[in-house]
């Protein structure tokens, strides 16, 4: 499945999810996948199908699963954890070599 849009979600959609969005964008840039849209929001603004992939902290994983495929981070600010998990996931989908 192709990924067109990634949504980063946290409780209020202001601080953490925004920083995750910046990290996701950095990782995608390194992978040359800049055509993927990335945005951040709060739980209340998400709906099933809001994005092809959702990135959140592990504490919100259960809340986010119902909106679509979810990638959860143990340390929401750890860019290396994000990079590893996101790269593995994109590889599975055949989007990166």
């Amino acid at each position: 499945m192709k990924i067109n849009k990634i949504a980063c979600i946290c409780g209020s959609g202001l601080g953490s999810s925004f920083l995750v969005e910046m990290n996701v964008k950095d990782v995608l840039k390194d992978l040359d996948l800049t055509e993927i849209d990335v945005e951040h929001m709060d739980l209340g603004s998400a709906w099933p199908g809001v994005a092809d992939l959702i990135v959140c902290g592990s504490d919100l994983e259960d809340n986010c699963k119902k909106f679509g495929e979810t990638l959860s981070l143990n340390n929401i600010m750890d860019k290396e954890e994000l990079r590893k998990k996101l790269e593995a996931l994109l590889e599975d989908k055949g989007l990166v070599e």
Binding site: G11, L14, G44, L73
Partner: protein, 451 residues
């Protein structure tokens, strides 16, 4: 000629435009592509307008709530909510807020560069709220124009490094390394919770060895949590005021229960709209700020929003919220008994701040630390706003106020120094700003950074 001057004057005094100009300059300085510049500038202006419109919605609902509370209990009831009070503050203090925010971020970079307080405060919405608070308090103190913007900005820059420094020791314990700072303006009660945890938490097991019902997680959705709490509060005051008061005094035609139900959710909708506006305003500002900070202060430590600690102790998050809320209710009952202004338990402060206090308490004192620490948080943020209201000028009479301890603490300190006169505030801010920088150059590097 005069019409051109008026055009420029009007342009610069419209805060929405001012924000747009600031973002425009920032985007051009980053050499963004033209379409990015247009998009970013327009979205910042739009965000500001959305924020202001949300304020109107909040005021309507809060106004009813205030009257109902007065009728039910005979005293003023205040719902602490940062979004509500900031959106009100922006009606009159928008230009000051915008200017202080920009100068404050520059001041943050300056302190981080030239002192040992290496934090870069990246929680943009809290920067905005603190800018609004400082703008209000210093205007009430008598400052205006450029002096207000400059000294307000210095004060803001200072709060952006001091509060992360206060939270830092416990933060290291939670995260296990020293790479990220903590940037959420409730550090006073987080620190307090950590200290309380040290005292009460001897041999207490971690909260993470407990099992908790999963369904409580639905409250992590902030609009659900706000809607639910406002619903309960509105129903209580409406039932106590009775149908006659609603129909005759407030002039409401519909059934009083239906009215309460809808007004409660209008408040939640208002907060949602304000948040959407805030998100759009800071979306362009924070990445630019981060970019400059990374260049100028390469060894800086990003100070980040409170949910970064949630995954480290999910149970402490739930305990913290519930117990802090309980503390808020106990505090409210005491205030009702004392027959003065009553601070109601706001959802967001207990929800995010109580939860974080729980994590801090757990880090130093296990279960007992989490419970007692977050209870203390709940009680403190119920009583502290009473000291802030006198220094907020007309905004002190609004039915809402700032909810987090650092806003309240900063307001109380600046407001009370201002009682000595304008010059006292200016000297106080200047000295406080210079202190960490002078310290860095005078005291040898080996010594620990202050705080």
């Amino acid at each position: 000629m005069s019409s051109i001057i008026k055009f420029i004057a009007d342009l610069l005094s419209a805060p929405q435009i001012l924000i747009g100009i600031i973002v425009l300059i920032g985007l051009i300085a980053q050499r963004k592509a033209a379409h990015e510049v247009i998009r970013g500038t327009l979205k910042a202006v739009l965000g500001f307008i959305i924020l202001q419109q949300g304020a109107g919605i909040l005021v309507g609902s809060l106004d009813y709530f205030g009257q109902l509370f007065q009728e039910a209990f005979g005293v003023q009831g205040v719902v602490p909510n940062n979004e509500a009070i900031v959106s009100l503050a922006l009606n009159d203090y928008a230009t000051a807020t915008a200017a202080i925010m920009v100068i404050g971020m520059i001041a943050n970079i300056v302190i981080a560069r030239f002192s040992r307080l290496k934090y870069i405060f990246l929680t943009g919405h809290h920067t905005l709220y603190m800018a609004a608070l400082i703008g209000v308090v210093l205007t009430v103190a008598g400052l205006e124009g450029f002096v207000l913007y400059l000294f307000g900005g210095l004060a803001l820059g200072l709060t952006m490094v001091i509060f992360p420094a206060i939270a830092d020791p416990t933060m290291k314990k939670i995260v296990g390394n020293d790479e990220i700072g903590f940037g959420h303006f409730s550090s006073i009660t987080y620190w307090l919770s950590g200290e309380v945890g040290k005292i009460v938490g001897k041999d207490s097991k971690s909260t993470e060895e407990m099992k908790f019902p999963k369904w409580l997680g639905f409250l992590r959705d902030s609009s659900v949590a706000i809607g639910l709490t406002m619903l309960v509060m509105f129903l209580i005051v409406t039932l106590m005021s009775g149908p006659a008061f609603v129909a005759d005094e407030l002039g409401i035609g519909e059934n009083y229960i239906v009215f309460a139900f809808i007004q409660a959710l209008i408040f939640a909708a208002g907060v949602y709209i304000v948040l959407a506006g805030v998100r759009m305003v800071i979306a362009e500002i924070v990445p630019a700020f981060k970019g400059w900070a990374d260049k100028i202060v390469p060894e800086s430590k990003p100070a980040l929003d409170c949910p970064i600690v949630f995954p480290y102790a999910p149970n402490a998050v739930l305990i913290g919220f519930l117990v802090s809320f309980l503390g808020g209710i106990v505090g409210m009952l005491i205030l009702i008994a004392l027959n003065g202004t009553v601070i109601l338990p706001g959802v967001i402060p207990h929800f995010f701040v109580g939860a974080t206090a729980g994590v801090f308490g757990n880090a130093t004192g296990g279960r007992r630390g989490a419970v007692v620490g977050s209870f203390v948080n709940g009680v403190v943020i119920t009583f502290l706003p009473l000291l802030l209201m006198p220094v907020l000028g007309d905004l002190g009479f609004a039915n809402t106020t700032f909810s987090d301890a650092d806003f309240i603490g900063t307001g109380i300190v600046l407001g009370n120094v201002a009682l000595w006169g304008k010059w006292a505030v200016l000297v106080f801010i200047a000295v406080a700003f210079a202190a960490p920088i002078v310290y860095h150059y005078v005291v040898p590097e080996k010594a620990e950074a202050p705080e």
